[in-house]
Every structure is written in C-alpha cells, then in structure tokens.
C-alpha cells in the first residue's frame, strides 16, 4: 500500500487529496482545502501556510498537480505516423500562435487516442512554460515536489472511470466559479474537451437568460460532438467546485435527456480525519473529485491512457540543460583542479629539467675541452708512433752494420799457421777478395777449409796458388758475406 497525493488548483481553492491505494482501491483518504486568490501563489506568506499544513499533517510530499482550467488548453489533432519527438515539434509549431500563449514557450504533453497506419489521432494539452515553472517552484518552496502536471479533465476522467463508468461514451461537466468545462470520454480516453466562460455564477443566477445561455452552450456542444464525433453519449457526470450541486443537477436535468450523475466520493471510502468524513456527508466530496482523480493517476498501474503529463517535455529539456551545466561545472572543476594540483609538479619538473640541461651543457663544454685535448693527443700519438716506426725501419736497415770488423777479424782468426793475408777487399755487394801467402799449398788449402766453418763468410774459394822454388806460396781467394744480397752465388 502506497500513498499518492493529488493537488487541484481552481478559481478559489487549492485542494489536496492524499490517498492510500492498493491495487486501484483507495484504502484511506485525507483531504485539505486551502482558500486562495491567484496572486497568492507568489506570496511568501501563503507558501509558508501551505508548507506548515504539509508539515503539520505530514502529507506525502510528492504530488500530481492539476492547474486551473483557464491556464490549460486541450485540443485533438491528427498527425502523420512519426516519432514522439516529431509529434511534439508538430504541436509546438501550431500552438505558439494560439492567443492564450501569446507566442510564449509552451510546455505540453499528449495522449494517443487512435493509431492507424497512415495517421495518429492524439489529444494534446499545453500550458505556458512560465506558469508551469512558477507553479512547480511555488509548491517546491511549500515542501511539495511535483510528480507531474496533469490537466484536470484527465483527473476527472480517472475519477469517473474508477468509481462510475469506464467504457460507455460520457461527458463530464466541471463547473467552476467562472468557467465550465466539458470532457468527452470513451473507454478511459479523453476524446474532446470544451470550455465556456460561464460558470456557477451564471448557472445559479436569478437571470433566466444567463442560465439558459449556460445550459444552451452545454446542450449545443454535446449535440455537436455527438453528431460530429459519432459519439452516442450515455451519461453526463457533473462536478462542481462549489458546495451547491443540486441547483445544477436540476437545471441540467430539465434540458438534457441523459442521466445526470453527481460525482460524489463513494460512501465506503474511509477517512483518516473525522472532519473529512463530515465534509463528505455535507457535499458528497464532489469538489475533491479532481484531487482524488490525480491521486489515483499517480499509481504506477493506473498510468494508462489518462496519464497526460504536460511538464515532462519541458522538465526533460531543463534537466538536459541542468546536466550540461553540471557536467560543465564538474569538468571545469576537474580540469582546473587537476591543473592546479599538478601545475607546481609540472613547473618544477620543467625547471629542474632545464637546469639539468644547462648544467649538462656546461659539463659538456668542460669535457669537450678535455676531449679536444684527447683528440689532439691521439693525433700526436699517432704521429709519434709513425715517427718511432720510421726510426725502427732505419734501425732495422742498420742492424748488420757491425759485420765488417767482425768479418775482418774472422778472416784473420781462421788463418792456419804460416798463412798470411796481404790484401783484402769487401765491396757493398758483399763480395770478398783476399790475397796472401802461405808456407805451402797445403796450408793455403787448410785456410779454405777453415773458412768453410766461418760465421760471417761463406763459399771461400781459392782461385789461384803459385809457388816458386824456395819461396812461399801466394794465393788469391774469393768469398761472400753471409746474408748479403749475393747469397745465391
């Protein structure tokens, strides 16, 4: 069992009905009636008054609200089979030109009456966006959140459908102080509405002409709609926003051939407060039909063909703007926060990097001088190495320069006793020529033998030997320096 609250705004009263509903049945009801004038809705004292009532009575503060009939326009329309958004655009394009809206922004909603392949028949309701927002704002200040803004015709339709008739074609006549509204329904669908600027004052006037005008308009409308919309009206329900319903019933019964039924609250409804029960005994609770209808529409399962919320379109739009603003603010805060948080780190990192680069460059400059020196030294070393290698080459060429003295010494050392050298010559090619004397041929030949084992000399060969009688033997000999270029010889 859940609580639902309905609030109806009429010419003189704001009426609140809080119902505990279970499976479409009202288990208990609480009613509040607050007299007001139109200007009161912006009055802080009045708002405070509502707030105190809501708090004191502990009313469920999420309510469906019905604006005064004079603030809402309801029309039927045939549109092509397009999407919901397209239908909204089609309606918006049409209704801004209506005198009531004076080219102002309009908040609207629509219900589908009939759907065919090539067309959709809808009934739409609209009010000035400004009126809607100011009403929502007023009640929010008073501690009541709007669950939806629903035209009173639909709320009355729900009331009648719940407690009296929900199939047959019928008319609900709602008589307010200055206006009378006719709502044509069938199968829990509002098909057509009509509003005339004559109300209870005229209907209960002593002036018979006024009464007849009021009654004539109603009769003509019912006849016109019955004929043009092919509706065979079965019943007429009457709702009054004033206590006096009997005179209206009598007047209507005198001219209309349909059963005229007052929309009293069912007698089996239980009330939480005794004063509400007493009120019902007096008026039948007829003036609360709108508020109770709204509470009944609030139930989730009841949101059918009579649920026509005219605030959703604009609120979604506002919500979308709100989301954009919130997102932007969050993004602003996030980006700026991140930037603010990280900027010192980023800046320090950057400065530290720049300092490091500068220091590194200085070090490079210092190291470059040493590196330059290194390169110079490398070049110098290479040159010195070359020079040294050249010295080595020269030294290598001169390695055997001391062979001459050793060779001459060896020539003498190998002489056998009695053999002497008279002359010796050594040329650059390593050819050695020796001439000498010996005591006899044998000793000379011994010399050749001795030289064969010499260290520096090779191929010692005697070319001639001669000896006169009694004299020594003379000889000439050739040889070669070992290792010289002429070695092949």
């Amino acid at each position: 069992m859940r609580k639902y609250t309905g609030i109806s705004i009429t010419d003189e009263f704001i009426r609140i009905a809080e119902a505990e509903i279970e499976s479409g049945n009202i288990k208990s009801l609480r009613l509040e009636e607050i007299p007001y004038e139109k200007s009161d809705l912006k009055d802080a004292k009045f708002i405070k008054k509502i707030r105190s009532i809501v708090k004191k009575r502990r009313l469920y503060n999420k309510a469906f609200i019905a604006l005064n009939n004079s603030e809402v326009i309801i029309k039927d329309k045939i549109v092509p089979p397009v999407k919901k958004n397209e239908i909204f655009k089609l309606i918006e394009a049409e209704i801004k030109d209506y005198a009531i809206f004076n080219h102002q922004n309009v908040s609207l909603g629509f219900n589908v009456i009939e759907k065919a392949k090539d067309k959709i028949k809808i009934i739409w309701a609209g009010t000035k966006e400004e009126t809607l927002l100011s009403t929502i704002k007023t009640f929010r200040k008073a501690g009541i959140k709007s669950a939806g803004i629903i035209p009173s015709n639909f709320a009355l339709g729900k009331f009648v459908g719940t407690f009296y008739e929900n199939k047959a074609p019928l008319v609900i006549i709602n008589v307010d102080n200055t206006k009378t509204t006719l709502t044509f329904m069938e199968n829990e669908k509002v098909l057509y509405t009509y509003i005339q600027d004559l109300g209870i004052k005229e209907a209960t006037s002593n002036d018979i002409n006024l009464r007849n005008t009021w009654l004539g308009n109603i009769l003509t409308t019912i006849t016109f709609v019955s004929r043009n919309r092919n509706l065979s009206i079965q019943k007429v329900f009457v709702v009054s926003q004033k206590d006096s319903i009997e005179p209206l019933i009598q007047l209507l019964s005198s001219r209309l051939s349909y059963p005229i039924i007052p929309t009293n609250l069912p007698e089996d409804i239980s009330f939480k407060n005794e004063e509400d029960y007493l009120r019902m005994q007096k008026t039948g609770g007829i003036e609360f039909a709108k508020a109770v209808g709204l509470a009944l529409l609030g139930e989730k399962d009841a949101k059918g063909t009579l649920f026509c919320d005219i605030s959703k379109h604009v609120l979604v739009e506002k919500k979308s703007v709100g989301i954009k603003i919130t997102t932007t603010i969050i993004l602003l805060a996030l980006i700026n926060g991140v930037a603010f948080y990280f900027y010192p780190y980023i800046n320090n990192t950057l400065m530290s990097l720049q300092t490091n680069i500068s220091n590194t460059k200085n070090k490079i400059e210092i190291a470059s001088k040493a590196a330059e020196q290194t390169n110079k030294l490398k070049n110098e070393l290479s040159t010195l190495g070359g020079t040294l290698s050249q010295y080595e080459t020269v030294k290598k060429d001169l390695k055997n320069r001391s062979i001459t003295s050793a060779l001459l010494a060896e020539l003498k050392a190998k002489l056998p006793p009695g053999v002497f050298i008279n002359s010796v010559s050594l040329n650059e090619k390593g050819d050695i020529a020796i001439s000498g004397t010996g005591t006899n041929y044998k000793t000379v030949l011994d010399y050749e033998v001795n030289l064969s084992s010499a260290k520096y000399i090779k191929n010692a060969t005697i070319h001639s030997m001669s000896k006169s009688s009694g004299s020594a033997a003379t000889f000439s000999m050739s040889a070669y320096v070992k290792g010289a270029n002429n070695e092949k010889k």
Binding site: Q354, T360, I364, Y391, I421
Partner: protein, 202 residues
C-alpha cells in the same frame, strides 16, 4: 525575452567554460610537451656528456703514452748524429785514428740522400776515407770503433792492401804498411739538403 536572456547567459557560460577548459588543457598540454622535449634533449646531452667524459678520461693515459713515445724517440734520436755531434766526430776523426796508429790521409763527402722509406730528417751522407796504417788489427779495431757509434756509421766497402814492398805480411802482426780505402755511410739528422753543411748555429 526572459528565456532568450537566459539562453544567452547559458551560451556565454558554456563558451567561457569551454574556452577556459581548452586554455587550461592547452596550457598543461603545452607544458607537458615541453617536458617531453626537454627529457629528449637531456637524454641526448647526457649521451654526449658521457661520450666526452669517456674521451676526457683517456687523456691522462694518452699523455703518458705520448710522453713514453717522445722519450723513445729522443732515445732513438741520440743513436744518430746530428749536425753538432757529426761536426765533433769529424773534428776528432784524425785524433781518433791516431789512437789506433792510423793516419787519415783524405776524407771526401758525397751528396745527402734521404734515409730509406722514411720522411724523418735522418739523411745518409756517403763518406770515403783514405787511411794509412801498419797493422791489420789496428784497422779492424778502428773499424769496430766506428761501427759502435750508435746507428750513425755503416761501413759499406773496404779495401786493405800492402802499400809497401812486402817485408812482412799484413796480418802477421808487425809493421806491414797498409793502405786502406774505406767507404762509409754516415746517418745524420740534419736540415741540410744536397750536400751536408753545418746547421748547428754555433
């Protein structure tokens, strides 16, 4: 009208917000980009520094090596005559020969040639000596003395013969009377070109 004003205010709010967000994001992005670029530069510079430092560290080793090489070169240089030492050598040649009981009759010089396959200032100076002596051993000892003058003197050819009537053979040990023709190459470090001339400056 009121709604239009509201829309205008919203438009201004959104525009300023977007501009602010873009500016802040752009600024932070730019700073981050700078950080990235600086990191790249630092890596590059660090690599250069490491390279230069490594080069610089070799400098000491290289200096030592250069010093060693220079010292070796100096040592090598001393193995060869230069203008002054050659001049002194030639001045003393007669006296030196007389120590070995030899007498230098004549000296003749050839033209200077570059030492083989080098571009050093070492040049070859051909020298021909005509010497007179008595003993074979004196000649051998003098020759040995010349050969021990570092790497400066290289005997090329020699001819020794008895110049007098043979009373005693040359290698017998007594006074035989010998005429010696000695062909030498003297290696000298000099700036002279063509023929050798004294470049010592003093």
């Amino acid at each position: 009208m009121k709604r239009n004003k509201k829309i205008n205010k919203l438009a201004v709010f959104f525009t300023i917000s977007i501009l602010e967000i873009v500016s802040v994001a752009g600024f932070i992005g730019y700073k981050s980009y700078l950080i990235g670029e600086n990191v790249k530069t630092l890596h590059k510079e660090t690599a250069t520094l490491q390279e230069k430092t490594a080069l610089a560290q070799v400098a000491n080793d290289l200096e030592q090596q250069v010093s060693e090489k220079e010292s070796e070169i100096e040592k090598d240089k001393k193995l060869f005559f230069e203008d002054v030492s050659l001049m002194n050598f030639l001045k003393n040649l007669y006296g030196t020969a007389s120590v070995y009981n030899l007498s230098v009759n004549s000296i003749s010089f050839g033209g200077l040639k570059d030492a083989v396959n080098t571009n050093l200032s070492i040049k070859m100076l051909p020298v021909s000596l005509s010497i007179v002596g008595n003993k074979y051993d004196d000649i051998v000892n003098f020759l040995s003395f010349l050969e021990k003058k570092g790497y400066s003197v290289k005997p090329n050819a020699i001819s020794i013969r008895n110049s007098r009537e043979i009373k005693k053979p040359l290698s017998a040990g007594g006074k035989a009377g010998a005429a010696v023709s000695l062909s030498l190459t003297i290696y000298v470090q000099t700036n002279s070109t063509g023929g050798w001339s004294y470049q010592g400056g003093g």
